[in-house]
């Protein structure tokens, strides 16, 4: 695309609680196809960061390779970004998080990047419950190499290539639930009103927060026989409920007084309010979450919304007992034992 976006913004754009306007969270112009679901997710990320709010420079954007992994250039232009290699973003994010536990790590990946070449790294970063938000822009196909099926393409789903996918699909949410993710949600790029609060809740949770967002590929996988098309997802999606996230120190006002509202208080004092259909399950029950995914799948329904939230599991730092101080800020004096200690050590080798 060759057009440029005007730099002018209305001078009266409202600032958020930190004094930033929405513009401060924008990035460069997208080069993805017009109508790509990924651009909607980028916009939802911008909106969530603006609303939460977070300071842009305290966010680190991470990605692998693919259409989805290009998007960190299109949001949060004042944040550091790292577009790594294919399927390896979790390792980079893990190292970065080890170096400085005080930043917000926002990983963006695709279904090829996560469920195929990066499946190993994905499962292990989940196991370690690394404190990060991991957004999968899930379109069931490889866009940049022109439309091959990915490992999340449903069996029988047919992309523009015309051949039904003969293989079983990987459900990333179910996998993440099995191996210890602290927060699991599924969204749809076409449902911004649901996606923004999902992202805000994910960013507020400590531990590994997976947000698997079905994001139709308008060029290669938006056919009538695809289960990742706009039409199919709209027809088959079913939400666990509507979500509000109330940040800490904000007065909690809710209209929902009935028994169908579940509150989950996060470590930073934020509260997630989930307003559910009557009789639905608890979102702090892992097994129930897996059951719900399976039963919806059996009925060809796509369950969206927060599937699971448990933010007291302890992240990687807690598991391996690292100092609360960011490791990258510890000075030489506190790291190097000095020559006297070395000479004492030498005695042990004599």
């Amino acid at each position: 695309m060759t057009f440029t976006r005007p730099k002018f913004r209305h001078p009266d754009l409202p600032p958020n609680a930190l004094g930033y306007t929405r513009r401060d969270y924008e990035g460069a112009l997208s080069t993805l196809c017009a109508g790509c679901g990924h651009d909607s997710i980028s916009n939802a990320i911008i909106q969530a960061c603006y609303e939460l709010p977070v300071e842009p420079h305290r966010v680190v954007k991470m990605s692998g390779i693919g259409c989805s992994s290009k998007t960190p250039a299109y949001f949060l232009g004042k944040s550091h970004g790292f577009n790594s290699v294919h399927g390896r973003m979790p390792a980079i994010a893990t190292g970065a998080n080890m170096a400085n536990r005080d930043l917000l790590y926002l990983g963006v990946s695709g279904d090829g990047d996560t469920a195929s070449i990066g499946l190993g790294q994905f499962t292990h970063v989940v196991r370690r419950n690394l404190n990060m938000v991991y957004i999968v822009m899930n379109n069931g196909c490889y866009g940049l190499t022109k439309g091959q099926d990915s490992a999340t393409a449903d069996r029988g789903s047919t992309s523009k290539k015309g051949t039904p996918n003969p293989f079983e699909s990987i459900d990333l949410c179910e996998l993440a639930l099995q191996i210890g993710a602290g927060f699991v949600a599924r969204g749809f790029s076409g449902d911004k009103s649901q996606l923004v609060p999902l992202l805000k809740a994910a960013m507020s949770c400590r531990g590994f927060s997976l947000v698997d967002v079905i994001s139709p590929c308008v060029t290669f996988n938006n056919t009538s026989a695809s289960t990742k098309s706009y039409q199919y997802v709209r027809d088959h999606a079913e939400a666990t409920g509507t979500v509000d996230l109330v940040p800490p120190r904000q007065e909690i006002v809710t209209d929902y007084q009935d028994g169908a509202t579940q509150e989950v208080t996060l470590h930073d004092g934020s509260v997630i309010f989930l307003h559910k259909e009557e009789g639905s399950r608890s979102i702090t029950d892992r097994r129930a979450a897996i059951d719900a995914l399976e039963s919806h799948r059996a009925e060809n329904r796509i369950l969206t919304g927060i599937l699971y939230c448990m933010d007291d599991g302890g992240d990687t730092h807690e598991m391996i007992k690292t100092t609360l101080q960011p490791l990258n800020s510890i000075l030489q004096e506190d790291l190097c034992p000095g020559n006297a200690a070395l000479q004492q050590l030498m005695e042990g080798y004599r």
Binding site: S84, I92, M98, A99, N100, L335
Partner: protein, 606 residues
């Protein structure tokens, strides 16, 4: 028969069964020689196995201080029935064969050119050691006691070592000391003058230490301020991280909370291990990983990213025998080319070649400075021989005035004062830009790191001249690296001499010894020990001043020779390969013979 007779100059080979507790007994023996002040170099020749397969421990004693492997054995302590015949047959004429005489040797063991020393180890243990559970383990200590008598070492140095080893559990020292005494008394009574080998107290080791290279590297990482290690277990590098883990538990725990000022993560594979290092280093922590050949192969993709995106990486490669799985518990120097040019596209990496524990310690500290100064991977090329065997070394020291060189990193105040900044702008002319850590400044210094082609401002580009400019700048940085890496160590015995030898790492002790052997025969050879890649001008100057230069290395293909030819213009025939690659450490005998032969062949052809 003429018995081998020597003072402080012998090789003793212990033949054991893996997992039978022999390692600590054999180690006790080597340490005793060290503490008697006599130079000693033990080499563990072990199988890729936890229990049951044959393992050997070769101890070379050399008052002259030759620490390379000698080859051959003057005495075999043959405890492994699986290899009894082989150990018997391989013993040099005039040598000594110590075995467990509880069962007599079969008739066909009828050599007349060796001295057989029978010690009924099993019998002695069964009759004299009360606790049946200790009998098997202490059998090993009994033969050490016998050696103390046979080699005139006395018991004191052994009992002192045991007391020191079991300082916190003196009740464990007692049965060990008893076992020592049993063996000692038996040998003195039955084999009083059987052995012509003798080890006598000297002062050669005053002030020195005995340590393996992997521990030295870990200690270097502790002193260099490493805080993050991502790793995947692989022989023979595993103990680098294990030692770092224990050093940080000793020196980096916060007293109140017990929390550690280090994060060590066992990754799912070597790809993730080096990825974690890259992520952490990018974010301002000193981070490293240790691996061996197969891991290095897996890390190639990420090393290319670190080279192109310009991120410091400290990688330790403890080399073992390749290709593929090769021989995981044998040594080689065969990852040189793959490390130097790791990853696709035009890449090149800084290599350091330590030749002993002290250099491991120092190169680890220097390596972090170099990696951060150059914003690029630095690979320390150790090997199994250096990493897993104990070496006598000068003690380490740390200059308390030394400051870590964290390289070109901008603070928030720096960013405030800057009018223009581009992550990859070469403002100093050394090919190195200024980087920022995430979270430094609210509105300045953010950039997008990528492995795709980028311009000076870190933005994606497919513009040909911009890409070329970046690649050419990396060459300027390579020249900066050439100025910063540790220089080679040259020994010019005779300025008029036209024969030279180049070697590096663990080939060095054997090579120096070989040059002494040749010198005694009237053949002078000048030498240059490489310590790093890129090669400095001194290396070519050395090659230019000689007619023939022997390149001594432990691989089949002459990898450093190839690297020298790839990086410099010269006639290839000038560099003569001396290659040893059977998995055992190279010996002085092998090197001197190869050089002698080559020189004779040339003389006769003239």
């Amino acid at each position: 028969m003429e018995k081998i007779a020597s003072i402080n100059d012998c090789v003793i080979r212990f033949a054991n069964v893996n997992g039978s507790g022999s390692a600590s007994a054999n180690n006790l023996f080597a340490k005793a020689v060290f503490r008697l002040g006599v130079p000693v170099s033990p080499k563990n020749i072990f199988p890729s196995n936890i229990q049951g397969l044959p393992t050997w421990y070769e101890v070379r004693v050399s008052e002259k201080g030759y620490m390379g492997r000698r080859g051959g054995a003057d005495m075999v302590v043959a405890i492994n029935s699986q290899t009894l015949r082989q150990d018997y047959d391989e013993l040099v004429p005039g040598g000594y064969f110590l075995y467990d005489s509880t069962r007599t040797l079969p008739e066909e063991y009828n050599r007349t050119d060796i001295t057989v020393i029978g010690i009924p180890l099993t019998d002695l243990c069964n009759t004299k050691i009360e606790n049946p559970r200790l009998r098997q383990l202490l059998k090993n200590i009994v033969y050490v006691g016998a050696l103390a008598s046979l080699l005139d070492m006395g018991l004191e140095v052994f009992t002192d070592s045991l007391k020191r080893q079991f300082k916190k559990k003196p009740q464990l020292a007692e049965p060990n000391i008893q076992a020592l005494e049993i063996g000692f008394a038996y040998a003195r009574e039955h084999h009083q003058d059987a052995c012509g080998l003798s080890i006598q107290s000297r002062t050669c080791n005053d002030g020195k230490i005995m340590m393996d290279g992997n521990n030295a590297l870990a200690l270097g990482a502790l002193y260099a301020g490493a805080t993050v290690a991502g790793w995947y277990p692989i022989t023979p590098s595993t103990s680098v991280i294990e030692a770092f883990d224990s050093f940080t538990k000793r020196f980096r725990l916060e007293p109140e909370s017990g929390l550690r000022k280090a994060a060590i993560i066992q990754a799912e594979d070597e790809l993730a291990a080096v990825g974690m290092v890259i992520g952490a280093a990018w974010n301002g922590a000193r981070a490293f990983t240790a691996t061996s050949g197969p891991g290095l192969s897996l890390m190639n993709e990420f090393l290319g990213l670190a080279y192109f995106a310009e991120i410091p990486v400290l990688l330790v490669d403890v080399q073992r025998v390749g290709p593929s799985t090769g021989m995981p518990t044998r040594t080689q120097q065969s990852d040189i080319l793959t490390a130097a040019y790791a990853s696709h596209g035009d890449t090149r990496h800084v290599l350091l070649f330590p030749a002993g524990p002290r250099e491991c310690f120092e190169m680890m500290a220097d390596g972090f400075d170099l990696a951060e100064r150059l914003q690029s991977p630095v690979i320390i090329m150790s090997d199994l021989d250096l990493g897993m065997n104990d070496w006598i070394s000068e003690p380490f020291s740390w200059d308390d005035a030394r400051r870590y060189d964290r390289g070109k990193v901008l603070s928030a105040a720096d960013l405030e004062g800057l009018k223009e900044w581009g992550r990859y702008l070469d403002v100093d002319g050394d090919g190195i830009g200024y980087r920022t850590y995430p979270g430094t400044h609210p509105s300045k210094g953010a950039y997008f790191t990528r492995g795709s082609s980028h311009n000076e401002y870190a933005a994606y580009t497919e513009v040909a001249p911009v890409y070329e400019r970046g690649m050419n700048r990396l060459l300027i940085k390579w020249e900066t690296a050439r100025r910063l890496v540790p220089p080679p160590e040259e020994k010019i015995s005779d300025p008029a001499c036209r024969i030279g030898a180049i070697f590096f790492g663990t080939s060095s002790p054997a090579a120096f010894e070989a040059l002494d052997i040749l010198k005694a025969e009237g053949i002078t050879v000048n030498s240059l020990r490489l310590r790093s890649f890129p090669f400095q001008p001194q290396v070519m100057e050395f090659i230019n001043r000689h007619d023939r230069v022997f390149i001594i290395e432990q691989n089949r293909d002459g990898q450093v020779r190839k690297l020298l030819l790839a990086e410099n213009e010269m006639p290839a025939v000038k560099l003569v390969p001396v290659l040893h690659f059977d998995g055992h450490p190279i010996t002085a005998g092998f090197i001197s013979q190869q050089i002698r032969q080559a020189l004779q062949a040339r003389n006769s052809s003239i």
